[in-house]
Amino acid sequence: MSEPTHNLESNSENLGIAEPYQHLYVVIEHEEGIPVPISLEMLGEARRLMDNFNKKYSSNEKVVAVVLGDNVRHLCDDLIKSGADVVVYANHPSLRHYTNLLYTKIICQIVEDKNVAGSISPIGYENYKKPRYMFFSADNTGRHLSSTVMAQLESGLASDINKLVISDLEIRHEHKTKGQLAKYDKTLEMYRPDFSGFLWTTILCLDNRNPAIAREYHPQSCSIIPGVFEPITKEDQRTGTFIDFEPRISDEDLRVKVLSRNIIKSTIDFESCKIIVSYGRGIRDSPEENFKLIEEFAKSLNAEIGVSLPISKRPYQTKDQHLLSYMVPERVIGTSGRKVSPVVYIAIGISGAVQHIAGMKESGFVVVINPDTDAAFRDECDLFIRGRMEQVLPVLTELIKKHMLTIEKRA
């Protein structure tokens, strides 16, 4: 509900007076006690941001990892070594598997708890209300969890972020500031690539300073794309605080039950193949014919076939069932699909949107086939074959077959 916006940001000049919104909380995801990679990536970025923050504002706000599960105490050391100052963990048999309802409630209990805030930092925690910033993963779980947690905390959320900056901004906004210029200190600029991958939108979560609709919007939070931020190198000597949080669970909170949970292996095996051949909207002139060339080429290299995101939305009218079976979300390489790192990655008719690059940049050797040498991919590849796939692929496939034969004869 609306509350007066008294001295909300003005106290950056009055160091020592505790602010109602403090620290950066990172919601950790793990699978049966092993943190998923994005968790450590978020901690790495949180560490870098808060180190700069504390230096710039002469403050001592913390990176707080929040982890829920059954018997997760053993995770805590790893999270500290990976950049957290504090780990708040909640152990309970009911928390073994994620359910949105229960996890949302417990996370909100933790981040709104004054005593927890006091254990994180004893200075002036009496004023503590909510986190200053919060990070979640932009995967299936974190995307939903971030949404419901922010609906409960009634604050703003930006999704699929790949760059973060903290700065003091002067804002003039019709509603937020009633058209007046206002200073918003310690604002988290959240950069989000749009669906095309070529535009970057900066999202801010700002309190309403307009007296008619005054409201405080904290934490400033976002979900972060897996695979874009670097984890820090683990430091064994790093120490931190562990807080054992006793979750308050009612029968109502347990009404969603996980009956079973099975790990499945994808039928498409990107992990054990050495070469991946991916194609994108460049096949558009004659999808069926071009796909035949791509398939033949991939076969000659014993490669698995991937696609860019637009292809999975089946942008072409075709009755070719075989082709359609290769235009599916399971084959998408990128932030909306799989992250791969083969020995060789070959991108055919793909422009190189940031989301796609994030899914393949760890590949060993990258080859691009594209008529447009200005395509964004040119900065992310080792070989750029300038040409149309209709011309390049038949020749290249024949050459590979020919040389393959020689290799086999020699052996």
């Binding site: 598997h97 949105n100 939903h144 700002l206 039950k257 964004a376 750029f384 074959i385 040409g387 020919k402």
Partner: protein, 302 residues
Amino acid sequence: MGRYDCMPVRPLNVGVIVKLEPDFSEGNVSYNPDGTLNRAETKNILGPHSAAATLAAFYCKVKYDARVAIGTMGPPIANQALRQAQIISNADELHLYSDRIFAGADTLATAEVLRLGVSRMNNGLGADIVISGHRASDGETGQTGPQTAWKLGYPFIGNVIDFHIDQESRSIQATRFISLYGFYDVIEEIQAPLPVFISADPSYKPSFNTVSERLSLARNLNEARSKADNYEKYLQVYNSEGLGADPSFVGLPGSPTIVYKVEKIPKARAKRRVEFIDGNDAAQLETVAKKLLQLMTEVPIK
């Protein structure tokens, strides 16, 4: 044991929230020279994820003889999405939540409108199950569904690929598909009492197996076509006042977030040293073929 109630099974009320989106299919989508979407030239349709949600409602219609209401927030043109959704689902009610003060809403302020809308669905009875798509193709945040669920007080179950309702115990059993991006994938079975909010996974596809289901399917498909011909008859339009919205919780005032700036993503500093090959030069392609084979054969296959 031997449960037999004189009371008939309570009818199932379903609500769906959908969105009118740019049509990304070839021939309809238009891109600017810099690779960004040309919104003026691109047609709008019921988004594919909204269509999956609508199919899930149709499944309830065919299998459980449910009453279906479909709602969307948007300008009057969003009617198109409702009409398309009615063809898919044979919906009984179409809701358009439209008001100039809703414009510019972020996901939280949108969820507030949808929460109020759902409570007016099905003659004011609301919904036992609310279904949304996975995420919109243009906004792509995937936040609106779960936030609407939370505001309704319904548990949210995401990425549903299959579900069944037990009308007697008034509960749902749902199968979820969870991708952990390079870790592995998980299939999960969930059980929860109604009411619930589910999001249909993009891969959701209903199946109708028994004879009675197939008969019901045929009847509903016919009905859907004739209903959609007169879709205005089923349309209810609500403005902010009609929904009883608090103006400070919707539109721009109710949105914690703003778009501060939009810019082209600068080209990343080249991490690799690119060598250009002329695709029409067979001799150059030969070196490529040799290089690829060398990389392929030197490293042992896992």
